[in-house]
Symmetry: C2
Subunit: 553 residues, 2 copies
């Protein structure tokens, strides 16, 4: 958005400058190393079996396995998904064009490309299979865990049409500062392409406690940098440090204990579209899926600072500034800061993360290192972390000073004074109904309708209850908290909660409004309506989640 005001020429110049200033160039060798490790990490990954979704992609493949077994002799040999000699090579861009029945439905699995158009009709999960159309089937199989069985993988090979070419640079175009952006999963629904901002289908969020990396919402402000891990150097400076200290990626990985936390990240603009319906706001038209939950591994910030002999209790340090390696056209990095009271308390689990869900941090999520400040709005969890500054004052970046702040509904662009509101740090308690979708038709089972979703609160406040209603909020019942971190402290729980409920509906009703509201450990709960929360930037919408559905009689 900010960048969209620039002409193409200025953007191109900016890109050149980004490359010059960041002093990072593409080092093919180390990128390959990185990719190998990435795949090894993926192999180590657990097949989290949620057992919730029999009716999903490949559910049909499973039932069709006998046909596959009969045809086994005609299938390519070797490990399913391996590159198979003699097949045509397709890059990801080519695959992504095949996302409708008319254009044929292609999917990829590891190095395999498959045309599953003829299978779609047989898929018991129906349209669900189209979520993966034009891209990798793997993140969906992380969600619909029942598919990860040898017989299903063998079955998939029946539909092989080619190998997936190395397409990392398929979009490369030297005239476009975004040309070097990574390829994304086509299931991510873009709110903007340049910079890339996208959210996954809302429905999938409630199906898995950990959001798969490739389906995790992406929120960029600038083109994605491409630092080489070998040359990566994190600069640390400011109060209590003489000059500038640097730490390599290797330093972060080897000099400090590897700490793993589970934390949800949410964009301040999540559910902005509901504000847009009331009165147009400035900002990406996010649905309710600009949030995700993942494990993050890395070095604890306080360990790193102790190593640099910084006194974390030094009262002069009031803010910790994080600068990214993504630069704006003037050469200024994306930047943000958080209060030192939060960042310098080891109990607040701020980490410099190099892994996400046990995999190498993907480029879209800050490779090689990002700040994870759990309980805090996504915007302060700076990606491609280039510099940390221990400071008396906040970051002076545009995004800290003149964005990501909340205002009274009466404030407009003529009257707004960004100095009057504090930079968003913790986010308020929120929940969303992920399933069923607004406007859908839902079955009644034993007089009840089924709904599920996520709930989360900022500042480490655990979700203690989710209330749901099938009459627009007149009567309530309590949802079941089906996935939540166990034994975490009520004020040190960074991850979200997945909930579900079966709510009675009155006989004969044709339409109902389903509602959810969450309560956190401070007993804060969600406001009833969105109108009184409206603000010119469309941030901070944590009103009740409301979904209107028709009932199948």
């Amino acid at each position: 958005m900010w960048l969209s005001r620039l002409s193409a020429e200025r953007a191109w110049l900016a890109n050149q400058q980004v490359r010059r200033l960041s002093a990072f160039t593409v080092v093919t060798k180390s990128r390959s190393r990185h990719r190998r490790r990435h795949e090894e990490d993926r192999k180590r990954q657990h097949p989290w079996l949620l057992g919730l979704s029999a009716a999903a992609i490949g559910g049909g493949l499973y039932y069709a396995q006998r046909r596959g077994a009969l045809q086994a002799a005609t299938q390519p040999k070797g490990v399913p998904g391996d590159r198979v000699f003699g097949y045509k090579e397709y890059d990801a861009t080519e695959v992504s064009k095949h996302d409708t029945k008319e254009k044929r439905i292609w999917v990829t699995y590891r190095q395999g490309v498959y045309d599953i158009t003829d299978f779609v009709e047989k898929h018991p999960g129906g349209e669900n299979i189209l979520l993966g159309a034009g891209g990798s089937i793997e993140p969906f199989w992380q969600i619909y865990g029942v598919h990860k069985k040898p017989e299903i993988l063998d079955m998939l090979e029946e539909y092989r049409i080619g190998n997936l070419a190395d397409s990392g640079d398929a979009l490369k175009n030297t005239e476009d500062p975004y040309a070097n952006d990574p390829v994304r999963h086509p299931a991510l629904k873009p709110a903007s392409l340049k910079p890339f901002n996208a959210e996954p289908p809302l429905k999938i969020l409630a199906e898995r406690f950990l959001t798969p990396n490739s389906l995790f919402y992406v929120r960029h402000h600038l083109p994605v940098p491409d630092p080489s891990p070998a040359e990566y150097a994190l600069e640390v400076e400011g109060i209590g440090i003489e000059g500038t200290k640097t730490l390599t990626l290797e330093d972060l990985k080897t000099k400090f204990p590897k700490v793993t936390i589970t934390a949800a990240l949410q964009c301040a603009g999540n559910r902005r579209s509901e504000q847009n319906k009331i009165k147009k706001v400035k900002g990406l038209d996010w649905g309710a899926a600009a949030i995700g939950n993942a494990t993050w591994s890395g070095a604890r910030l306080t360990d790193v600072l102790a190593y640099l002999r910084v006194d974390c209790n030094d009262p002069r340090i009031q803010h910790v500034i994080f600068d990214g390696l993504d630069l704006d056209p003037t050469g200024k990095p994306y930047g943000a800061s958080v209060t030192a009271r939060r960042a310098l308390n080891p109990g607040n689990d701020v980490i410099l993360a190099y892994e996400m869900n046990g995999e190498t941090l993907p480029r879209d999520h800050g490779y090689p290192v990002r700040a994870i400040v759990p309980g805090v709005v996504g915007a302060r969890n700076v990606k491609w972390l280039g510099r940390i500054v221990l400071s008396e004052i906040e970051s002076d970046s545009h995004w800290q000073q003149n964005d990501y702040k909340g205002f009274c509904p009466s404030v407009d662009w003529d009257t707004v004074d960004f100095k009057k509101a504090p930079a968003i740090e913790e986010l308020p308690v929120v929940s969303s109904i992920c399933d069923p979708a607004d406007g859908s038709e839902v079955p009644i089972v034993d007089g009840k309708v089924f709904l599920r979703g996520y709930a989360w609160s900022g500042g480490g406040r655990k979700i203690v209850r989710v209330d749901v209603s099938a009459d627009g909020g007149k009567t309530w019942c309590e949802a079941e908290l089906v996935e939540q971190e166990k034994n975490t402290h009520h004020f040190r729980t960074w991850s979200w909660t997945i909930w579900q409920a079966r709510v009675p509906v009155k006989p004969g009703q044709k339409e109902v409004e389903l509602v959810s509201k969450a309560v956190d450990a401070s007993y804060n709960s969600q406001p009833d309506t969105v109108e009184p929360l409206w603000n010119l930037r469309g941030v901070l919408n944590n009103s009740w989640s409301r979904v209107k559905v028709t009932l199948k009689s």
Copy 2:
């Protein structure tokens, strides 16, 4: 309430047991010493001049001063409020009976008793003067600061009718376990008498940043203990401590730095009456004044534990239990606990307070020592602190386990399971309109109505904005934050905020609904309506404050 189920006889027996078990007896000598110090403290007190209320008690006295000057020759000599030889002695109970014009309106100032009935008519603040009827005028003069002038004090002496007798034990009745409760200011409106629970007139709360001690809401669960300061001993035990350590009041005052913080305390049941209107709940029918803001001085808990060589980072310590000296009929103390993550972090400012607003802690607020856990529900700020236990588990007290918890509106006394909800610790963000009162008639000035109130949030989250509406929440404007601690951290602000606003009303309107909603540093805000917050104990009502008024045309 809990005690109300006991027969009078059992209550009497309980009282005997309280006296026996607590091992504290009334030591007249030391009580007198205490009273002397109390008065010395009072003399040192600043005349906080808010300058907000010209139209209040004594405003009229001021205007009438010339008459007083003319009659000065007839006035008693000496310092105003001093005991004057030759006047009749009245105790506080006798004074408290004179609280209407029919019974004559008496007030006290220091050791003076005054009949101001004939002055009431001349008082420019009108009915305001009746707030002090039957009790001390001093707390109101703390609020309406303009009165603290020598000429007004001289004026007051004109109305002298007697001296105030030492009435500390006026209510004493050995058959009543509450007989030894202190005398309270008659302006406190009781929600229950035994145990004593009362709130001040709502209107006065927004008039002064610091609530005067004698007008601070009182919330007791049991009879008020009366420990002697000389014999007072705080016991500390549990993980990391061998046996039981004891600290005297003198130890707390002399061995540790005196720390002063400003913190609001709020009862979990504040604004319960709004829930009662929807469907009857169990609990005291509190209005919106079961909250107050004061400075608290004492020893920092972490300093005391360091002195006892406790490692505050010991991971075995999960909870800090506070037991009071107020005992139930079985001899079990009132008790509560807070999480160690909160209590053992010096940055959370938990103190063992022996002063309130610069005065010796009053008996009704925990004399000689109470726990102040700022940002946390009043119930955990244990008064008459007798014992601290460092523990792996929560307090097993009734009030921690089976009370002070929140539930879904659908939960009733047949289905409630207190184990399912966490004990309330931090409270959610709240605001209340203190002035005008619901149902009152208000003037329109320049097309606007004036309102003011308080706002506060738990967990140290500073109030960053208060929005107000004069059309039931359809349109909003921002209130002015007139009194707020300056330069405190956004996540370490324990005190409340006083706000005021002038909101436009549409011409020709006769009735409007005024609304306030506050926003805290985590950008949590108040829910729109009370119905979805309803719960069987009537706690945690932080819905929008709504006041219906008629407009003077």
